[in-house]
Symmetry: C2
Subunit: 212 residues, 2 copies
């Protein structure tokens, strides 16, 4: 019997290193897939439907929410974003882990969804606020205004650290990567995650009765 | 704030590789200490009180059990064996993990003791009964009679696999060692095991209020 995959949730304030950690986790185990969100915002140049996002109309998005097809959803700057249930269910039913790069509100919704037993949630903390700001400036993708907005939001995100299974302080990225891998390796070995062990024990029992 | 240490319980039938795994875990992290049992049996040549065992009289052993000083105890071939509470409490209070190489009955008693919140229990299964017998014969420390007794007891031990947090099928010992290390690494990172994270978040909050 195949184990069901995990919903691996990574949350952190911007700049704590979450995206790097997510990519490194998938490089380590390419069977892990990123959850693809649905959104009502327009595709940007180079974005492909079903790869970066599922691009849907607002009407379709609302229908999906109403029909319970979203594990979690939120409205951000006038656009809707959400994680459709069906592709996740499809992956975990064949033993594939699905990685979610979402904020505490999304994590909280998934932790109360029908797939809650398969959730493994990890919160990444920065070593310091100064370091968080330094990383946001250093990556050079945001204007000063956006950095200030991200910093203002970061405390809100950090303040929800208690709702997670594991917490990692991302001081040294190599060490944090190793710890993240250890967490995923360990969680897959939990008794409750290994339906195949029951079969193995049954085989041992049969063998024991035959050969003692 | 220092985290409290874990009570790492390893159980398995004889020959599944538990002792090798226990030693390898301590080689990997020498801060992990083996729990030293108390026993009423006589010391063998070379055994030292407080190292292999605490050697106590039967009267003293009974008093310890009566006064609740044993985390678990059992009578085996007319001798008493047990794990005294106090040295374990002393270790875990300074953040040292303590390793227990005990059977399912001891594991079960510890899981119901006052230290149950600090327990991490792992069951090691053999890949097959043939392999279990082969390993018992190969290590050459037991007579044929003792091997048969061990084999007869092995099914009793295996049948209690469901009471553990984690299960490892010890097919390839190097892989099992890595998995065991991953489990210990991960368990130390669980939110509930890291009292220090609360302080770190308080520091982040202060810093956030000062420098934004």
């Amino acid at each position: 019997m195949e184990r069901r995959g995990l919903l691996i949730i990574l949350s952190s304030p911007s700049g704590a290193g979450k995206s790097t950690l997510a990519r490194s986790l998938r490089d380590w185990d390419p069977t892990i897939r990123f959850s693809v969100s649905a959104t009502t915002r327009a595709p940007r140049v180079g974005e492909q439907d079903g790869r970066e996002y599922y691009f849907v109309t607002e009407e379709e998005f609302r229908r999906m929410v109403k029909d319970g097809e979203m594990l979690e959803h939120a409205r951000v700057f006038g656009n809707y974003y959400g994680s459709p249930h069906e592709p996740v269910e499809k992956s975990i039913s064949i033993g594939q882990d699905v990685l979610f790069d979402i904020d505490w509100q999304g994590a909280d919704q998934i932790a109360r969804s029908s797939l809650r037993d398969n959730v493994l949630s990890i919160f990444i903390l920065p070593p310091s606020i100064r370091e968080l700001r330094r990383r946001l400036i250093q990556r050079g993708q945001d204007s000063d205004d956006v950095i200030e907005t991200r910093m203002a939001k970061s405390w809100d995100e950090i303040s929800h650290w208690k709702g997670y299974d594991y917490v990692l302080v991302n001081d040294d990225v190599t060490e944090t990567q190793e710890r993240l891998r250890a967490i995923v390796t360990a969680e897959r070995l939990r008794l409750t995650r290994q339906p195949g062990v029951g079969l193995h024990v049954t085989k041992l029992q049969q063998e024991f009765e035959e050969v003692g």
